[in-house]
């Protein structure tokens, strides 16, 4: 499926469940997302983590609403509880099954976003593991010079920001040296098609969402 359409559909779903209070819809979304993830061969361990990680904030939200809420507070508490899971699971259908490079290609080719933006997103994504290691290295460099850099230490952030600025400049030079010119036309080796089936999935998906939200809301 075209990753940009997938992203759009998930964005619409997220927006709609933010403004509806239907537990059955949230649960239906979680089930559908789980089925999709299983179909895409996501490991059971990963699914397990998806269940466990949001548990704490979900319980937090539930109890806050249950204790302090007004009106039908039990109903609302469960709405919030299931909504968190709906967000996490629908989000996971994107992050766990989509190649970020394909998304960048789609944004550039289908939606004609500036290549600079598409590749910027891609580069930022590729930098994440590097940044994690770098933070470890910076803290070690501090320790070796007699200074403990805690997670709230300005020096740690100063260094990390400095490193990032440096990286971004280096990245710009790297892109330029490999022939990248802002706003210049480029050819495309990987073609990301935007098929009629992608549009159908989007339209049908939104349609089903409305049925779940308005036609058959059990609660």
């Amino acid at each position: 499926m075209n990753p940009s359409i997938k992203l759009l559909l998930l964005f619409i779903i997220a927006l709609e469940i933010s403004f509806t209070t239907i537990i059955s819809l949230n649960i239906a979304l979680v089930i559908l997302a789980t089925l999709y993830l299983l179909w895409r061969r996501t490991s059971l361990k990963t699914l397990g983590w998806l269940l466990i990680v949001p548990l704490l904030p979900a319980i937090g939200l539930w109890s806050t609403q249950y204790i302090n809420g007004t009106g039908d507070n039990a109903q609302m508490a469960w709405v919030l509880f299931t909504r968190i899971y709906a967000f996490v699971f629908t989000g996971a259908t994107f992050t766990l099954t989509t190649d970020i490079l394909e998304l960048a290609d789609a944004l550039e080719q289908n939606w004609h976003l500036p290549a600079k933006f598409a590749y910027g997103v891609l580069a930022a994504y590729n930098l994440v593991p590097k940044i994690q290691h770098e933070v470890k290295v910076i803290r070690m460099a501090g320790l070796m010079r007699g200074q403990t850099l805690s997670f709230w230490s300005p020096k740690l952030y100063f260094k990390a920001i400095l490193v990032s600025i440096n990286w971004s400049q280096n990245l710009a030079q790297a892109m330029q040296s490999h022939g990248f010119v802002e706003d210049a036309p480029r050819t495309h080796y990987r073609h990301v098609p935007l098929r009629a089936s992608d549009w159908s999935i989007l339209v049908i998906g939104i349609g089903l969402l409305q049925i779940g939200a308005f036609a058959i809301p059990w609660r």
């Binding site: 590729n126 320790l143 007699g146 030079q173 490999h178 022939g179 010119v181 050819t187």
Partner: protein
């Protein structure tokens, strides 16, 4: 097909007061291999970056022309076809995750027809001999492999002029020889113009067509051919080394005691389970091809990288020691100087080291003396990040020496330094060590000037780490 002319070129960095290049005039003929030499920090990188347009030359500061076409008026999209640059730091020249994607990215930028891309990519990879790296993550490659990928990209882009900025600084001799062979082939078979900046002059005498020196007055001059033998001989005399080191005997209380230590990078085994000792108050040199895992070994010794097996420091398992205390015992000189710095100006950086130093050998006077020795004096208020690579390296080493931690691990301490700086540095290391008994463990490709400092030699090759009497 490009003859390059530098016409009255003057360049001053925005934050500097003296120009780094002053009224430079030079012609670089097409299809020739030119070697650009000069001490570190004299503007080799700047010149190459100006020639690629990565740094913009202000108006009225001279002219760079390719076959009478001014670089400033050349369309940005045509530049990469005219001139390409291989960077000094192999980590800083890629925008994508895998080798294949980087090549595709470059060819897309050059607006190459997707139909012919596959062929061009395969040809470029085959030319450099790295077809097996095609689908590898660039992050997981060694320095030498990265430079080979960089060359493959340049070959695929088919630029007329190839500039190389100290491309072998973190490349082992085998990879260096292989890259040089390819460059000669590009000149002879494809008619490319090649300009390579380097301070290590080994092997170039018979390969290059022209030698250009950066002079003390910030101008450039071509070295006449009759002077070459003398010029290159002077370098190789200093480079020669047939030094023999003794093999250490196992000691009861070693500095480090490695027991069945295995190192991995992802799923790739770098070091087979190994038993080994490092001795206290001795200087150990570690050599080996790049990518063999030398830096990973250092990262394991300071606990930045996981390993299997056990490492003992003076008999204690290092995993059981307190991080803070351990970091004060074992310091690591990172390969990339900027990683080490915690402050903004030179003076602040030195002050931090002095404040937290383990010993009191480095008094303010001794620091000043060392700065003069290293040709870094008078830069107190300069922002570290505006220093040249060579100056950064020297400042980094001095900051770590001042700390006087009992053990200092040095990862390529001579990287990017010219001979004069190397000599000054080794002298400083010797005098310091005589007074402080610090233990040094050094990874270095470059042995020039370093051999006299070394007691034992370890070879890291083919997943083995062993003491050897000679360095290859």
């Amino acid at each position: 097909m490009a003859t390059i002319t530098l016409n009255n070129l003057t360049y001053t960095y925005p934050e500097a007061s003296v120009p780094v290049l002053d009224h430079v005039n030079l012609t670089l003929p097409a299809h020739q291999f030119t070697l650009l030499t000069g001490p570190s920090g004299t503007g080799k990188s700047t010149l190459l970056r100006l020639m690629t347009g990565l740094i913009k030359l202000p108006a009225d500061h001279g002219q760079i022309t390719y076959d009478d076409q001014d670089l400033a008026t050349l369309a940005a999209t045509d530049r990469a076809g005219q001139v390409a640059l291989m960077f000094q730091n192999p980590n800083q020249q890629f925008a994508m995750d895998t080798v294949q994607n980087e090549l595709v990215f470059a060819l897309e930028n050059r607006q190459v027809d997707p139909q012919v891309m596959t062929n061009r990519i395969n040809e470029a990879l085959d030319f450099v001999g790295i077809r097996d790296l095609q689908d590898r993550q660039i992050n997981h490659l060694s320095g030498g492999e990265k430079q080979k990928v960089a060359l493959a990209v340049i070959v695929a882009m088919n630029s007329d002029v190839i500039l190389l900025d100290e491309p072998f600084a973190s490349v082992d001799p085998a990879a260096r020889a292989s890259l040089l062979r390819r460059l000669i082939k590009l000149r002879d078979d494809a008619g490319k113009t090649i300009i390579l900046a380097d301070h290590d002059l080994t092997d170039y005498e018979t390969l290059v067509d022209q030698v250009v020196q950066i002079n003390a007055d910030r101008s450039l001059s071509s070295l006449p051919k009759p002077q070459w033998p003398h010029f290159f001989a002077a370098f190789s005399a200093q480079a020669a080394s047939d030094h023999h080191w003794p093999l250490p005997k196992n000691a009861p209380n070693a500095l480090f005691d490695l027991q069945q230590v295995q190192l991995q990078q992802g799923s790739f085994v770098l070091l087979q389970p190994t038993d080994l000792q490092f001795l206290d108050h001795r200087n150990t040199l570690i050599t080996g091809p790049n990518g063999s895992g030398k830096s990973t070994l250092f990262e394991a010794l300071v606990r930045l990288n996981p390993y299997t097996g056990q490492i003992n420091y003076h008999g204690d398992n290092i995993q059981k020691l307190k991080a803070k205390r351990y970091a004060r015992q074992i310091a690591l000189l990172f390969q990339d100087a900027e990683t080490q710095f915690l402050n903004i100006t030179v003076a602040e950086e030195l002050a931090q080291s002095q404040k937290y130093a383990y010993g009191d050998y480095f008094t303010t006077d001794r620091i000043q003396q060392a700065l003069t020795q290293l040709n870094l004096a008078g830069r107190d208020e300069q922002v570290i990040y505006t220093l040249s690579e060579g100056q950064k390296k020297k400042l980094q080493i001095l900051s770590m020496l001042i700390m006087q931690s009992p053990v200092l691990l040095m990862d390529e301490p001579l990287k990017g330094l010219d001979l004069k700086s190397v000599d000054a540095l080794v002298t400083l290391l010797k005098t310091t060590q005589a007074a402080t008994q610090q233990t040094l463990i050094i990874i270095s490709h470059q042995l020039t000037g370093l051999t006299s400092l070394i007691d034992y030699h370890l070879r890291f090759d083919q997943h083995q780490l062993q003491y050897q009497e000679v360095a290859p």
